[in-house]
């Protein structure tokens, strides 16, 4: 049982690597399907979700929490898929969306710019256009990452393994990743499965709260859901109603408690 996220810049052969890794490890593979599923469940157009996960927030978006809501939807679906185990996700920001699960093998594929431009040119673009498109895409991803997660996608400490596809071939990268996935740290033990399920419960609870109470924090351990809110938030009728909905919608919740006036823990979603 492996859970692998593969992050890459555009035209860096990440898709080819992900497909071969999934085939070799007999895992499910998904990328855009995540947005498809999220769109289906929450009735938000795929294009809007894609923008939320790719483009940096615009001037006005910085003051609203629209992107936060969409990201919560996406994470709820992603953690649900991950809780099932045995998957390769090569869509945007997998390493950040699943940063709370240590047994997820987070891989980054890098490639030199000239090689990327050449690959992009095979799609029918001129050299200049291809280069501009790649640089603009890199820039958006960098800004998004910085704005939402205060992280640089090129920061290797976000990944367990970074492989340059220019020196090693796609096959070599696949071999490296599969070997790494078999290491002890990335084994999907029963404890890891439990952690994934807990995380999925927390995100699904957050889905119901995020629109009206974007700043609440939620943790979940062994099915025990702890919600960190302010005194004021917790006493509203809306909040209480949402708590009832959470209990009704998530049968796996063992216990639900609301903590007020306490700082939100770092591992909260």
């Amino acid at each position: 049982m492996s859970i692998i996220t593969i992050s890459r810049g555009s035209s860096s052969m990440g898709k080819a690597v992900a497909e071969k890794v999934a085939a070799k490890l007999e895992c499910d593979i998904f990328s855009r399907d995540l947005l498809f599923k999220t769109s289906g469940r929450f009735h938000v157009p795929q294009k809007t979700l894609e923008k939320a996960i790719h483009d940096a927030p615009g001037i006005f978006e910085r003051y609203s929490h629209t992107k936060k809501v969409y990201l919560t939807y996406i994470r709820a679906i992603l953690t649900e898929m991950v809780a099932g185990g045995n998957i390769v996700y090569y869509g945007l920001a997998g390493h950040l969306l699943l940063d709370k699960l240590p047994h997820v093998l987070k891989v980054r594929i890098t490639a030199n710019l000239d090689g990327r431009v050449k690959r992009k040119m095979t799609e029918g673009f001129s050299e200049k256009k291809a280069r501009d498109m790649i640089l603009a895409d890199d820039d958006q991803r960098k800004k998004w990452s910085r704005k939402i997660y205060d992280a640089d996608p090129n920061d290797c400490s976000l990944y367990d393994l970074t492989v340059c596809i220019d020196k090693l071939s796609v096959e070599n990268a696949v071999d490296c990743i599969c070997r790494c996935a078999s290491r002890k740290a990335f084994e999907s033990t029963s404890d890891c499965v439990r952690q994934s399920k807990d995380l999925s419960l927390a995100w699904n609870a957050k889905v119901l709260l995020v629109e009206s109470f974007p700043d609440v924090g939620i943790t979940c351990e062994y099915g025990n859901l702890l919600i960190y809110a302010t005194e004021k938030e917790a006493h509203t009728t809306k909040f209480k109603k949402i708590l009832d909905d959470i209990k009704k919608e998530n049968y796996d919740i063992y216990n639900l408690e609301v903590h007020t006036g306490l700082p939100v823990p770092a591992n909260a979603v």
């Binding site: 090689g115 220019d166 020196k167 071939s169 096959e171």
Partner: protein
Amino acid sequence: MSNLLEILLLDDEAIVGKRLKPALEKMNCNVEVFQDPQLAVGRINEKEFDIVVTDIYMDDMDGMQVLDIVHEKSPRTKVIMITGYAMISLARDAMEKGAFDFIAKPFKPDDLRVVIAKAAKALGSPIDLNPLTRE
């Protein structure tokens, strides 16, 4: 394998074969030179060579294809790639495909002889390079 090392040399520039053939024959090698990749492949299908030296960029067929054909016909044959357009990615691809060595042009006949001697050693028929160094 007889004592004579059987070598096929393929390069679409006539001067390359003309220059290298005598240099290799001095080291106990029987060298067949081709300029046309199709004819060379035809010959590879007829005869098992110990070493194939092939250019990479040619009009009808590239050296990488020749490498595949040689290995399919005779896995023990050592293939040495030569090219005037050496690029690191090309060199790596050639090695991944099982080339024995990769040399960038221009090179001296002596450079190729050293590589041929290495290939001969890997084939279990070492060649003495010393008489050549005294030339």
